[in-house]
């Protein structure tokens, strides 16, 4: 039983390190362009294999954040977490472009104490309360405790502070990611695209209200505020069930960090990119991995 839980936890850890491997996290707005205010956008959120068919797990609405065009924080309404899909609404009561999404920050990796491997995992707690990741009963002293024999499942801590001073072979990766949608009421604005200069971010050169089949769009990617050259950006259309291929497009950013995307059709597209380097910002972290995800609506000409 315990072994199984640990294995699940380990799998969750790997999933954090490489998001989107088996399942994709997505937000799906009812529309991205509205004539005026007030209007209501309805959003589905899920983690599933294919876009945008919920078949696996809901994304908790409590993790959703809303950025209003005037820089204030908006809020969701009528949130509900189902088994395979969550749903919520946002009332667009201010004109301009809104950002809705979730930002995740986590940390994970391995280290050794007296030759025994330990794992660090933060974020969604694997196994729930009392599981291996529940830090309460496992203070910083715990790693010095009974060391497992070879073949025993890995041991866990849940925060970087719990890594003991005598730890060796520290390989800790900071993870950060955001999953976004953008909706516009009336005339588009740019405030929600102002980069923070931290991590992996996207700044549209072509405004997201101007994505049209047959008209190449330019989206700029930044890492720590600087153009991310040579970044691989994946773009996938929804609705795979109705065709044979997954329709994936891969684009590399140029020296200016710009990915030029020529939309093959109108519809909802899921965009994802990730980047890893060793410029970790937290103490003891040895690397970082960042991801950016967005669902974009492409209009027919």
């Amino acid at each position: 039983m315990r072994l199984k839980t640990c294995l699940i936890a380990a799998a969750a850890l790997i999933a954090v390190a490489t998001p989107g491997l088996a399942h994709r996290n997505w937000l799906l707005p009812s529309a991205t362009i509205f004539s005026s205010t007030p209007e209501t956008v309805a959003v589905d959120a899920a983690e599933s294999t294919d876009l945008f068919f919920p078949d696996h797990r809901a994304l908790g609405v409590e993790r959703i954040k809303v950025w209003a065009p005037d820089g204030s924080e908006g809020k969701i309404q009528n949130g509900s977490n189902g088994r395979v899909r969550s749903t919520f609404e946002v009332q667009l009561d201010k004109p301009g472009t809104w950002r809705i999404g979730m930002v995740q920050n986590g940390i994970g990796g391995t280290f050794k104490v007296d030759g025994v491997e330990w794992r660090l995992f933060s974020g969604r707690r694997p196994g729930g309360a009392g599981g291996p990741g529940a830090g309460a009963g496992r203070g910083p002293g715990a790693p010095g405790g009974p060391s497992g024999a070879g073949g025993e499942p890995p041991r866990f801590v849940s925060s970087i502070d719990e890594i003991p001073a005598n730890a060796t072979d520290i390989r800790i990766t900071e993870t950060s990611g955001s999953n976004n949608i953008y909706v516009t009421a009336g005339e588009p604005t740019d405030t929600v695209f102002t980069p923070t200069g931290k991590g992996l971010e996207m700044v549209p050169v072509t405004h997201l209200t101007e994505l049209v089949k047959g008209e190449p769009a330019r989206l700029k990617f930044l890492v720590d505020g600087k153009p991310a050259a040579g970044l691989k950006v994946s773009v996938l259309p929804g609705g795979k069930r109705y065709r044979d291929s997954d329709g994936a497009i891969e684009i590399m950013t140029g020296a200016d960090g710009v990915a030029t995307i020529d939309w093959p059709e109108a519809g909802m597209f899921w965009l994802n990119t990730s980047f890893a380097d060793n410029k970790a910002t937290m103490p003891k972290a040895t690397g970082r991995r960042m991801s950016y995800t967005a669902t974009l609506e492409v209009m027919a000409p």
Partner: protein, 157 residues
């Protein structure tokens, strides 16, 4: 009275007109018919700002879901200029029109040159269509026929 002035606004400039735009809205045999939303605009051939000539929508409908709610269904016009136009716009906004032929005077203050005229129509529980015609301000002339939501659209002196 106000409604009437909105309706007539597009025609008012007729005497000094630089030309006439004729839009035919086709008669459609469908179970549930709603008059289409229609917008027409011109763009300079060399690139430049779009100028809206007319936007016909359900101007009477107000309340929680006013007639403007569906203006973005004229999706190309919305992107090119509709979204930056405050509605109702003087001399541009009008009520939806019945099937038939409608004449609209082109603005007299158009700078000479080559433009492209666009006419876009979108109908509730129906389709959407956009057509275009070259427009030479000095000699407006030409005709194109829509296939679904628009009939013949003509430019003439």
């Amino acid at each position: 009275m106000k409604k009437t002035s909105l309706l007539l606004a597009g025609l008012a400039a007729a005497p000094a007109s630089a030309g006439t735009l004729t839009i035919t809205i086709p008669q459609l045999k469908v179970a549930e018919y709603h008059r289409p939303y229609v917008a027409a605009w011109i763009e300079p051939v060399g690139g430049g700002e779009a100028r809206t000539l007319l936007s016909w929508y359900d101007v009477k409908k107000t309340g929680a879901e006013p007639g403007t709610k569906w203006l973005h269904d004229l999706r190309t016009w919305w992107r090119k200029g509709g979204r930056s136009l405050k509605q109702p716009a003087d001399g541009i906004t009008g009520a939806t029109r019945a099937p038939g032929t409608h004449k609209i005077a082109l603005p007299t203050n158009l700078k000479p040159g080559q433009y492209t005229l666009y006419v876009e129509a979108a109908r509730e529980q129906g389709g959407r269509e956009i057509i275009s015609l070259p427009l030479n301000v000095a000699a407006p002339n030409g005709s194109v026929s829509g296939k679904t939501e628009l009939g013949v659209v003509t430019l003439s002196r």
